[in-house]
């Protein structure tokens, strides 16, 4: 059975420090940890990126493959986002198919990318109703030190931003993949910001220690289109705690500011 004593001592300490605006690792409540993004790290992938968010370490790779469209959107390509909690990333992770946390992570990142209209899937069509490009975005967690949501979203986004897409030539029903590459048709750019609620405070970019004692977390993704228009494009509460309506609105305000900060770290498009 899970021992609950150590977390409750830690929690008390974290809350007390926060009263004076401080955190155990020296950050203020709204500081992100250092962000480091490297792209094109996997030459065999059409796009790839590693993200270090403090000590949290994530890699994402993008592969394009030809496949069938969904019957209800026959003229659109497909983007598929998966996340794997690789067992080397944490003593808590286990081998086996993705659990509910990995699935939630992948789906939240997916919604952020999808709902921002980042990828113009209509341009991924090869033969309408028959053949389309599938963009596989695979995110692997390599070291889990808190806030996987933002690190994974950044990694997936950076990999897509720097992807090149193979070009297909069609003659009749035959599809041939050429040696040529074209840029991926991208539009608005989503950035995700996660905050943990502990007591009555919000902690931006929570560390693993903070996540272990948090009441709940809120992730908010802001998308910015080419006219620099910002909109909320995805949101997800996680964990068993509650938020007051005021906390919710405050969190959205914070996310708006921090997402602008994070944008500066993004790789520029194409490669």
């Amino acid at each position: 059975m899970t021992n609950q004593i150590i977390p409750s001592v830690k929690r008390k300490q974290i809350i007390e420090l926060a009263e004076s605006g401080k955190r155990t690792d020296g950050r203020s409540l709204t500081d992100m940890r250092p962000v480091e993004i490297q792209t094109n790290v996997i030459e065999k992938a059409e796009g790839s990126a590693t993200v270090r968010l403090g000590d949290t370490y994530v890699i994402a790779g993008v592969k394009f493959a030809i496949g069938d469209p969904f019957p209800d959107i026959p003229n659109d390509g497909v983007m598929s986002v998966s996340a794997e909690f690789v067992p080397l990333a944490s003593s808590e992770f286990e081998t086996g198919p993705p659990d509910e946390n990995a699935i939630e992570l992948a789906r939240v990142v997916d919604r952020g990318l999808r709902e921002s209209k980042l990828l113009d899937t209509s341009k991924l069509c090869i033969i309408p109703g028959k053949k389309v490009w599938i963009a596989w975005v695979d995110i692997f967690i390599l070291d889990h030190r808190g806030n996987l949501m933002d690190a994974a979203a950044l990694a997936g986004l950076s990999a897509l931003l720097t992807s090149k897409m193979p070009k297909a030539e069609v003659s009749g029903e035959e599809v041939k993949v050429t040696e040529e590459f074209v840029p991926v048709p991208l539009r608005a750019i989503p950035v995700n910001v996660t905050m943990a609620k502990i007591g009555d405070k919000l902690f931006v970019d929570p560390s693993l220690e903070e996540e272990e004692v948090m009441d709940c977390r809120l992730s908010v993704a802001f998308a910015e289109d080419d006219q620099k228009q910002e909109k909320i494009c995805a949101m997800q509460k996680g964990g068993s705690g509650t938020l007051t309506p005021e906390e919710l609105l405050r969190a959205v305000e914070i996310a708006k500011v921090k997402s602008q900060e994070l944008r500066k770290h993004l790789p520029s498009g194409g490669k």
């Binding site: 509910e100 699935i103 998308a223 995805a234 949101m235 996680g238 509650t242 609105l249």
Partner: protein, 243 residues
């Protein structure tokens, strides 16, 4: 799928409702014999059955928690509940919604009263026509009450969508698929706290604030219907006991 216009110029929706009007919602409590607690809801054409077992012995034992009850939840769709037959194996969507449903209900449960035990919450979607997670959560909080689980409050849930530029309350399938955003929310009404919020789609900051307001209004209407159902149920039970 063909796109039809979903809202008339007069602000009347696809199924005849006004923008902020709920579908007919009807809760029924205690419909199952084996479950410790149960509730059935017809929420427009969305139909969901929820059964609760527990608090009961944790199995396997290593799940037991020393200081509170372990809560499990399953959101599951019947193969015939949707247009195209769905495989009965849980999809990734169902696994996420199971987690989200559990986390929406947990804050309302006095879990610390039952250390080392497990409560199971099983929601079966028999027919899906939008807002299934809201309906499942709202019905589940009644099933928990029916099971005698001590609760801090009911949990009431409602979704708001942006469709053709307008915010609408209580989203049906058609609106979800064609709409620009979907935002399900759940609250503990008498505590005024949020236990579930998810959003996807594009909303301006202003629209988001309005959506939260509208969702809250919807949750309160659901809350009223939940309380009605509880009263009716207890009345029936007492009548039966008096006989």
């Amino acid at each position: 799928m063909e796109k039809k216009k979903l809202i008339t110029d007069d602000g009347i929706r696809y199924d005849g409702r006004k923008l902020d009007e709920l579908r007919p919602i009807k809760f029924q409590i205690g419909t199952l014999k084996n479950a410790d607690g149960s509730a059935y809801v017809e929420w427009g054409r969305t139909k969901i059955l929820v059964g609760v077992f527990g608090p009961r012995e944790s199995h396997p034992k290593h799940l037991a928690l020393a200081d509170r009850c372990y809560i499990r939840a399953r959101y599951h769709m019947a193969p015939f509940s949707v247009e195209e037959r769905k495989s009965p194996a849980p999809s990734r969507r169902e696994i996420e919604l199971s987690k989200v449903m559990r986390e929406a209900l947990e804050p309302a449960i006095f879990a610390e009263f039952f250390p080392r035990t497990t409560i199971d919450i099983f929601a079966e979607v028999l027919q899906a026509d939008g807002s299934t997670r809201c309906a499942a959560i709202s019905a589940a909080s009644l099933a928990l009450t029916d099971a005698g689980v001590p609760m801090r409050d009911l949990v009431s849930s409602m979704a708001v969508a942006k469709v053709e530029g307008k915010l609408v309350l209580d989203v049906i399938d058609q609106e979800d698929k064609q709409g620009d955003s979907d935002m399900p929310m759940a609250i503990m009404p008498s505590k005024n706290v949020i236990t579930l919020i998810q959003m996807d789609g594009l909303l301006t900051h202003e629209e988001f604030i309005q959506s939260v307001e509208l969702a809250k209004k919807g949750c309160m209407e659901v809350y009223a219907k939940q309380k009605e159902a509880l009263e009716e149920h207890f009345k029936k039970t007492m009548d039966r006991e008096e006989v």
